[in-house]
Structures are given as C-alpha cells and as structure tokens.
Symmetry: C2
Subunit: 507 residues, 2 copies
Amino acid sequence: MRPPTVSIALLLLIPLLSILPVSVPVSAARRSPRFLGDFAFSLPDPSRHRKAAYQYETRYFRQRLDHFSFAELPSFQQRYLVGPSDHWARPAGPIFFYCGNEGDIEWFASNTGFVWEIAPLFSALVVFAEHRYYGESMPYGSRDRAYENAESLSYLTTEQALADFAVLLTDLKRNLSAEDSPVVLFGGSYGGMLAAWMRLKYPHIAIGALASSAPILQFEDIVPPETFYDMVSSDFRRESLSCFKAIKESWDALEDQGQGHDNLVNLSRKFRLCRELNNTAELSNWLSSAYSYLAMVDYPYPSDFLMPLPANPIKEVCRKIDSYPDGTDLLDRIFAGVSIYYNYTGTVDCFDLEDDPHGMSGWGWQACTEMVMPMSSSQENSMFPTYNFSYAAYQDECVHNYGVRPRPRWVTTEFGGHDIKTALKEFGSNIIFSNGLLDPWSGGSVLQNISESIIALVTELGAHHIDLRPSTNEDPDWLIEQRKSEISLIRGWIYDYYQEKVASFSM
Amino acid sequence: MRPPTVSIALLLLIPLLSILPVSVPVSAARRSPRFLGDFAFSLPDPSRHRKAAYQYETRYFRQRLDHFSFAELPSFQQRYLVGPSDHWARPAGPIFFYCGNEGDIEWFASNTGFVWEIAPLFSALVVFAEHRYYGESMPYGSRDRAYENAESLSYLTTEQALADFAVLLTDLKRNLSAEDSPVVLFGGSYGGMLAAWMRLKYPHIAIGALASSAPILQFEDIVPPETFYDMVSSDFRRESLSCFKAIKESWDALEDQGQGHDNLVNLSRKFRLCRELNNTAELSNWLSSAYSYLAMVDYPYPSDFLMPLPANPIKEVCRKIDSYPDGTDLLDRIFAGVSIYYNYTGTVDCFDLEDDPHGMSGWGWQACTEMVMPMSSSQENSMFPTYNFSYAAYQDECVHNYGVRPRPRWVTTEFGGHDIKTALKEFGSNIIFSNGLLDPWSGGSVLQNISESIIALVTELGAHHIDLRPSTNEDPDWLIEQRKSEISLIRGWIYDYYQEKVASFSM
C-alpha cells in the first residue's frame, strides 16, 4: 500500500514556461484550478474513504460512442447504479438521476447523501450514471486504450455525455414500464453543469434539475477571469488579513529561497517532500492547489471529501499560519498551514509532488477541448502571484499535451451563457442553481433568479455543493433551511407534473 | 436540355419486394412519402423555375464536420445567402434566419417569399442558410465524394445541421457587431422541424421560430401511421367521392391489366411512358407519388413549386377523372387525372419513370438514419392499397441501400415528441406551428396550442407551408389573416426581447 501522500495532476501550462512572457512569475504560470476529476483518479488510496453506506445495484448499458453521427465506431458499456426499488412508487414514482461528473461514480454516490436521503420522502428511485471516459465507463475496453491519444479521446465531450444520459433514461424508463415517471436531475460541480444543461436540452426527459455549484458562466468573457482566485483569496482574508498577507508574500520568499540547487534541496527538506524539487514552480503549484481546494471544501464540520479535514479548514490553516511568533521564517509558517490540508491526520511521512503533466487525464482533455475557463490572478485582490490568462499559451499547451486545439467558444454556442437572464427569462423552467459564496466556483455560477422557476439559492457560508453532501448532526441552520427549500421546490415540480399528466389523461 | 419530364426517386422498400408478406400488394410496398428533397435534386430543369426575384449575396462559412467530437475530419464550406442590409436597423435590428432544409438553398429562398416580404416591416436582415450535404454545402469537396458511402454520409444528421446554424449565427452576429440582434427562425416542412427544434435547443441564439408544416410528431407511435395517406385520401374524397373511389379501385385494375409482358407494354403505352414498365409497381408508385404531392401543393391559386399547376389542383384532377362517360376505361381516366400533375403545361412528350433506388439521396439517407417516419395505408380511409408499416423491412432496405441501420427512437430521445404538451407546457416559448389541414403532413404536426407562446395556427384550407410562400393577388382572406397573426406574434417576441434587453442594461 502506498503511503497516504497526495499527488495533484498539473496539466496545463507546465511545458510552456519558456514561451511565457518574462514578466509572469514561473509559479503563476502553473496554476490552473480544476474540478475534482484529477483527484478522483489520483486519490492514493480509495479504500481510505468511507465506502458508500448506500445500497445500490451496479448495472451496465451499451452506448454509442458518437450519438450525433452514424460513423461506425465501437460501442461501450456505461456503468450506472440503481438504488433499491422497495420504496419506489412504480410505475409513476419519480426517478432521481445523478448526472455523473469527472470521476468514479461510486465516489459521487457516496458523497451525494442528499439524494439518497430525500428519495424515500418522494418514493423515488435513485440512479447514479457514470460519465463516459471515467470510472469503469471506458470506451475501447480499457482506460489505457480510451486515453491513448486525441483520436481515442475525441468522443469525450459534454454533449455526448448528456446524450448518454438521455438514451439511458429513455431506455430505463421503457424497461421499467415507467414512461410516465418524472425524472429529476441532480449534479454538483461539473455534474451540476450537466444537470442544468440536460434540463435545458432534454426537457422532455427530465422535469427539473438541482444544479449545485455549477459554474456554467465560467467561460469566455462572461465573468471576469480573476473571479476564481479572487474568491479563494477572499476566503482567506475573511478569516485573517495577516494570513492572507503571509500567503501573498510567500511567493517572493519562495522564489528567493529557491535560487540554485542547494537552496532547492533545502526547500524540499523544509516542505518534507519525498523528492527534491526541480524548480520552485513545482512547490508553488502544490501550495496554490491546496489553497484552492481548501476554499472549495471549507465546510463548517469535519469532512473527508478530498482529504480528511477539520471543520472550517481555512480558519484552521490561518490559525496555524498566524500562530507563530514574530520572526518565524515565513515558509515555515506556510508549511505548517498547508499541512492542515495535506496532513491533517499527521500520518504522512513525506509529500509526493509527483504528477505527470503529459499523462492523459479526463478533465485535462475536457479543459483542452470544450471546458476552456479563463483564469487570471489579479494584483489587487488575489493572494496568488499576478497572472493574466493567455489563450495563446493555453492553446499551445493543449496542442502539446493532447494534440488537440481547444474550441473556447463552443460551450457558449452550444449551451449559452452570455446574457443568460434575457435568454432564459421566458424560456425553460425548474432549475435550481444552488451556491455557497465561500466556494470559488460560485463566481461563475448563476447567483440571481432568472425567472419564477429558474431559481438561485445562495448561502453566504456554503462551500462547494455542500447541500448535496450527506446530512450531519453538525449541519448549520442555514444548510438545513437550504435543503428544505430544495425539497420544497422539487416537490412543486413533481406536483405540477402529476397534475398536468392527470389533466392530459382526462382530456 | 432534357425534356420536361419528371423522375421521382423511390428509395425505400423497392429491393425488398420479395421478402414482403404476400398479402401486401406489390404496389403498396413501394410507397413512401417523402419531403421535397428528392425533387430538389431531380428537378429536371431548375431554370424552368422562376429565378428568385429577391436580392441577396452568396457567402460561405467554414464548418466542422462533427461538432460533437474532436475527431480530425475535414471541414467544409456551408453556403448561405444574405439579403440587403440597407433597410436593416443595425446593430440591433432583427435577423430573420431561414433554416435550410433538404435541397438547394436558392430554391427555398425563391419559394419563401413571406420572409423577404416582411423583413422590411421589421428592419430585419434576411439570411438563408443551406443544410449540409445539400446544394453547394458539400463535405469532402463534392457531392460525389460526400455521397460516396455510409462513412462519408455519416455526418448528415439533424443535430449537426442545427449546430451548423448555431455556429454560423454566432459568428455572423459577432462579425456584424450585432450580438444583441434578436434572431427569428423560419422554416417549412423539414426546415420547419429544424426551426422548432433549434428554438428548443438554442434558445440563447434565437428568440423564436415560425415552424410551418413541421411534422415533428411523425415519429415512432406518436401519431397513427395511417395518418399521412388517410389525409391525402381525404383531400380527394373531399373534392369528389367518385374520384376517390376511382383511384381506390384503380390499383386492382392496374394489377389486372399489367399481367405479363404484353400487357405491361400496353400499360406503358397507355401512360405514355418513355420506356416500358418492368412491373406494375413502377407505375403505381408513380401514381401514388403524384397524389401525395398533389395533396401537399393543393394551393388555392396557380403555383409552380414542385410542378406548374392550376389553382386547387386536386379539384382539377378529380374533375378530369370524373368527366368521362360511364364505361370509359378506368386507367384512361386515371391517366387523364394524373396528367394534370405531371403535364399541366401539355409539353411533355413522354413520362420518365426512371429513378435510381440505389442512388444516394440526401433525404433517403436521413430517412434511413434518424427520420424514420412510419407510414401505413389503412383499409378503411385510404384510397391507396392497404399496407402495414414493417420496421423490419424498412431497416433491411436501409442496410441494403445505404449500409446503415436506422435509429428509429433517436429523434424522440433527442428532440422529444411523446406527450409534447406536458413536456413543453411549462418549458420553452415563442414557437408558431402553422399548418393547413389539407396538407397530409399536418397530421404529424402540432395542431393545438401548447402554452401561451407555443402556438398552433391552423387553417382548414391551407396546404404545405402555404404561409411561407410569396403573397399573390389571389391569396384568400384566411391566408392573409394567418400571415397577419404570424407577423403580430413575431412582433411581440421582438418587442419583449428589446424590452428585457433594455431593462438589463438599466440594471
């Protein structure tokens, strides 16, 4: 068994440092916030995570590789999980369908307790469907072959994944003789984007969607590119201005103390790395990632989603950083702080920075094709090194790493985003965009009601899709209230659907 | 120059006669109503048709062959026509966008006068976009190569065509600095289906759609398969019961008189065919097609859409059939009737039945892949020979002719259709489904309002997308009223859009 260290895949920009403008600090060029997909693959020991307490059956469904052409391509098996049907009011009871995102579906199933917990209230059947090219849902028979090259990866797209869900649901309902069952979609993060987009594209298949922490506006020029890092920074400043300042100053200290081989050796020792650093960028990237993920999982109770963490982990990190007497070396304080994230259990012997920038990761591919989310780091509000997003550099790296050119405008062409209020005010219905403002992804999400039934539920103290997580005894009141609102809205959708259905039978 | 004869491409079922159940008359097995696509290609002399009186510029736009994957495929040039911009209120004036269907876009442009005529009222820019794989918009550089085989044809799908429109419009608006222009979609027949589906799938790109004679419900089991032929038959019965009966009886007469080679020679002579019949099915198919197309273009004024025809052509056909004294040979009467359709100008020397059932036609491919519209002919209400749709036979023929298996459930999975009222009552907006009840395609269309802004405009005496045709001095009052309603609804969509837009600027 490998030691419980963590490696973070860093996919973008790394091989391109040499062509970046000189004014961009090396470390800045390496930050590229991602969803959780890389974690899903690189979790060093999945067995460390509590195995899902939820009961389900694992099934497989044969899918076309390209739904939108008739090219002769091999089909593949999509995995999906089906909860117990004993409380399901068949044949017209609701189906609660989780839109699997960039990882193993069992991981999402065990971290999306909300769906399991509320299903019995609705006499609903629970289905978790895995996203193609993740987990066991591999085209071409194996992950190695699916991820072999740009050709084999070329059907890893969001539209294909949505079509998988549409075909699966249509077939499932037919086989269950449940054609009249209302389907409600759920998803968090990228899965929330899928849920919202699926409701918009397939309204005849699903009557509504709970899209939690779904940054569907984090594209092109819809939100300022500084949004994400500014929000991470704001989460730290909110806990402690001195902590924020310490981190902001640490990058220069890190550059200073990392000049030359001997200093890099010292730095590696200071941060208890398993191997020696090749450059300071490796380290600053490792730190930046921790801060970003901390902002995402800044939950008010102890959790073990990405890592085992205490309640309010940013507060803990800052408390640690702030706890040292004047004169303590800044990087020692930084190390102590980040250890809250990487080593809360205190069992890590050394930290493994290793990642394979040329390795094919699913989210890396998606970021290099459709999911082009420009990210900058501002001088004023960010605690990270200043960085201005360069699409040219981004593209070059994608060509280098994946042999593919991104289509940065495709997502907004296919799914919209610009001026979303005008576009959807009189169109669409039954979507909840839930967001917590601590979550840095909330800045790219829908934070205002679009219409009477396209609703934004915003909590000031929520982090990344906390509402979807299993309930705990420590849930704060605002979270309990948020979930009540969600249940009430979903109940309304189903009620309206049944009423309309009965009316159509009676006509 | 070829003589003005007409050949009708018959694509389906022909090679399969031997495996059809014995009880199905040979002639019945050959009928397969189609859209106008085959005509668009086989029009013997396009110059016969009045060249568009409308002014436009022809442009080309480079498109991806597969929008939904990143497979490396050659791009192609999509043709589109742009009307004069002198009356366009740029940069926020509306764009009226015709969703090109299965044929040369110039043909649709010249037959869709409504759009050209009303554009100045709205200070709108007119754009007609050609559908991929039709007209000049050929992948792989030429029609021959695009239609070479199932592999080359595999990207001829509706979803790809809609994505072409979405990408073209997005780019066009950006290049015109007209991002805030409201786009209104127009389309007739399959083009109307595209317009409606585009409004549903790309609400952020187009604010509304006029879908004229768009049979989006002619799939699977949504409407009875007898609908189309029953409606054609009803159009004839409405004009004359004796005419209806004569046609209904003619198939047996045709079988009787077509037994053996000598009789086939006589039949060929009786119907003035350019070559001898190989079997009676060739002839019954030629007749059936005429009746179906007559029902589609049963306009109340002389027209020249598919063929030069008098006003109320079915009335004329029946008048001819009914005009002969008792004892006249039934097939002589039938020939006289059908000559109204095939030879109204009286200039045809002989009729050319020739078609190439193995030739690759665009609509044939679409019917063999996505556009699977089951068609039967009932014993009771149809004047055509009884025929029960057999999906197995249909599929076999598609495999034989195109080397492709249809996906008969895909259209309803992708676009919906079942229980459309429940699905869309609280979803979507700003679609007009206009239909004339003489049009046999109206039976597969939306004939009831779905919601406050998804509206069905139904005229009792209208035929196939008559509302989109150029206005004439002979337009009946109901047609003038119908168009007024359409103008009024479209004006409302644009008004609401501007109001919402101004409100969003003011916030």
